[in-house]
């Protein structure tokens, strides 16, 4: 894509986001969005960011991490801390207030950046054990990291401790939530298509082979963790400053991490569009099941759990598998966009049926021929 096209696309996206924000926050004419739907929509945006960023580690690099809520907590608490304790002075420098559009935007930008940096550092720290541990061991260590972070937050009174960060100022809006979601998708898709992404796919395929090929697995794995964590941190910052949704250590436990894993598994591990789809469906599903709950209290989560088991039995590769949605997908529905160097065993099983050879990919790039 030429630079001009990129800039135009960026400008159009931002304009569209501003227009949508205007529509959702203030309405247009007589049209007002139902606050309940608005809330679900915000959660979808945040979950898209979380799922797509987790997909970078789990899907592209094949490092099984289940501590994403921990990164979310680090970024979320840091960002919210910045807003609550330093938001007013920062906005004051501009002669504005945190609740005003301009002051709010600047504070938001700064707080999210600080949150992203803090989470990236945490991701860096978690990335280090990934150099020695694999598979289930890494999974349990990432889970442990998430729990440690949660317990530490429980013990810091300045951010509310066990009661949650109730001082949070609700300054997030649709522009920020979906802007971040779009940015995350753009970043991850670009990484997937770059030499970095190819290196990550190689690591997923066979780490020893990757090392032998001269790929610095250390560098790429730690970097993937840091980037993924930073994006999760931004998502945390957004959810921390969402309307009437204070951060609470109870909501950032390992069940939350697993929810995010389930999103990418539902969509198809390794597929960015799958992650978007999975995040959207799994945000709506529990809400849609609220009707069940009214008739049989508590049954909602039972149905959710059953659906999860049935999904794994009947479609373990997820909805999209490793495919990506795109224009080429409509033209040729079975083509992969992200070239994978070596296939996982699971991929091989799930895709071998009726799948034409991708003629444009060179030998060794397309996975199952």
């Amino acid at each position: 894509m030429s630079l001009l096209r990129k800039l135009t696309l960026g400008a159009v996206t931002i304009a569209a986001l501003i227009a949508l924000n205007q529509l959702f926050e203030h309405g247009a004419g007589d049209f007002r969005i139902n606050p309940y739907y608005a809330r679900i929509l915000s959660l979808i945006g945040i979950n898209i960011t979380l799922a797509v960023s987790l997909n970078l580690i789990n899907g592209l690099a094949g490092q099984f991490s289940i501590g994403h809520a921990g990164f979310m907590a680090v970024g979320g608490y840091t960002a919210t801390y910045v807003t609550v304790y330093h938001g007013a002075p920062i906005a004051g420098l501009l002669g504005s207030r945190v609740v005003d559009p301009i002051g709010g935007s600047v504070v938001m930008l700064i707080s999210l950046s600080v949150g992203a940096i803090a989470a990236a550092l945490a991701g860096f720290g978690v990335g280090i054990p990934s150099l020695r541990l694999k598979g289930d061991y890494l999974a349990i260590v990432t889970l442990g990291f998430g729990e440690i972070i949660r317990v530490i937050i429980l013990n810091v009174p300045a951010v509310g401790g066990a009661t949650g960060f109730t001082d949070a100022i609700p300054i997030t809006n649709f522009f920020w939530i979906f802007g971040v979601a779009v940015l995350t998708v753009v970043i991850v898709v670009n990484i997937a298509g770059s030499s970095f992404g190819r290196a990550l796919s190689t690591i997923r395929g066979d780490e020893i082979a990757a090392e032998a090929m001269g790929i610095s697995t250390t560098r790429y794995k730690v970097l993937a963790f840091a980037i993924s964590a930073a994006l999760a941190g931004v998502a945390g910052g957004l959810s921390g400053q969402l309307f009437a949704n204070p951060l609470n250590p109870q909501n950032l436990n390992f069940v939350r991490s697993i929810e995010i894993v389930v999103m990418i598994v539902l969509g198809g591990v390794g597929s960015t569009s799958g992650a978007v789809l999975g995040a959207t469906l799994l945000t709506i599903l529990p809400e849609a099941l609220r009707g069940v709950d009214q008739q049989f209290p508590g049954l909602r989560m039972v149905v959710y759990a059953l659906l999860l088991i049935l999904l794994m039995i009947f479609r373990p590769q997820g909805i999209m598998g490793r495919r990506e949605f795109g224009w080429s997908w409509i033209q040729r529905p079975t083509r992969t966009r992200i070239p994978t160097v070596l296939s996982d065993v699971s991929d091989h099983r799930s895709h071998t049926g009726n799948r034409p050879v991708d003629r444009r990919s060179t030998l060794g790039e397309s996975d199952n021929q």
């Binding site: 054990p129 289930d136 013990n155 088991i309």
Partner: protein
């Protein structure tokens, strides 16, 4: 000195519980390479099965050792059945799918048992009947109840029993063969499906023992009690070297001692994080756990 001894005793009785649950984790993982996330919830079911049995036998008013044994056996039978059902209908269909699919299924089963438990048993905690009269002994200045002694004794007996089953019996040999290589074991004429079902039954029965023992010592049970305990027991299993029976025992005891040690200090609020911190440190030094055998990578 007395307080140190006291903490050690408390730590050992807590550790024995973790060890009992960790034994089940370790066996299932050893044979199937599956983190059975639902194991902690089977432990919860064991406690509830024990609760209903003990209430039915009216053990609260007539405590008896025989009754306790009956209740434990009953809970074991119930959980063994549950374990077989879970394996047959949830894990077996996904066995040939990816590792991730089995893990998500395990999480699904765990959520199903937790929330199903809340629907069936109600979310509020219940109080377990006192099946054995509590007695406190004083050993070298430290207080110890007969219940915690029982838990430790049961854990040790179960560990040796399991070692015997795995290393001295036919089914144990089949389990080891299945664990070594499932497909080759099948070719050698082992009914691996039956071996795996047996493993689940045995593991779940052990979880039930853990559930009843905990309920004896801490008589407060609720549908979510398996969540954190199960997680820590799994950590204990990994810590000791997953798939290794004495390793699960050592890991469980270590976690129990650490936790009570921390509870006794000013940092007691960090209790839940300690298990994980210890795990991370140990895995960084010994990536396959304390007693685990390092796996050499084939190129």
């Amino acid at each position: 000195m007395d307080t140190v001894l006291q903490q050690v005793i408390n730590g050992l009785s807590l550790g024995a519980i973790y060890a009992l649950i960790a034994l089940g984790y370790t066996m299932v993982y050893g044979v199937l390479r599956l983190i059975n996330f639902a194991h902690g919830d089977v432990y919860m079911l064991g406690a509830f099965a024990g609760y209903f049995l003990a209430t039915a036998l009216d053990l609260d008013r007539h405590p008896s050792v025989l009754g306790t044994i009956v209740v434990t056996m009953g809970a074991m039978a119930v959980c063994a059945g549950v374990g077989i059902v879970i394996e047959r209908f949830a894990y077996r269909p996904v066995r040939h799918h990816s590792r991730l699919a089995s893990l998500i299924t395990a999480i699904g089963v765990s959520l199903l048992l937790e929330y199903g438990g809340q629907v069936v048993f109600g979310a509020s905690p219940r109080f377990f009947p006192q099946m054995i009269r509590s007695e406190t002994y004083t050993i070298a200045g430290a207080q110890v109840t007969n219940q915690s002694l029982l838990v430790i004794a049961v854990a040790v007996v179960v560990m040796f029993g399991l070692e015997f089953v795995v290393h001295r019996t036919r089914i144990g040999k089949a389990m080891r063969a299945t664990s070594y290589n499932l497909n080759v074991a099948k070719l050698m004429g082992i009914n691996t499906d039956r071996v795996i079902a047996f493993t689940f039954a045995l593991g779940s029965a052990l979880a039930a023992v853990g559930g009843v023992m905990v309920a004896l010592a801490i008589p407060r049970i609720d549908p979510l009690m398996g969540l954190m305990t199960g997680l820590k027991a799994f950590v204990a299993a990994v810590l000791g070297g997953i798939g290794n029976i004495p390793g699960a025992m050592i890991g469980g005891m270590l976690i129990g001692l650490m936790e009570t040690g921390i509870s006794a200090t000013a940092y007691s609020t960090y209790r839940d994080a300690v298990a994980f911190a210890v795990l991370i440190v140990i895995l960084l030094v010994r990536p396959s756990g304390i007693l685990g055998t390092p796996v050499t990578e084939k190129v």
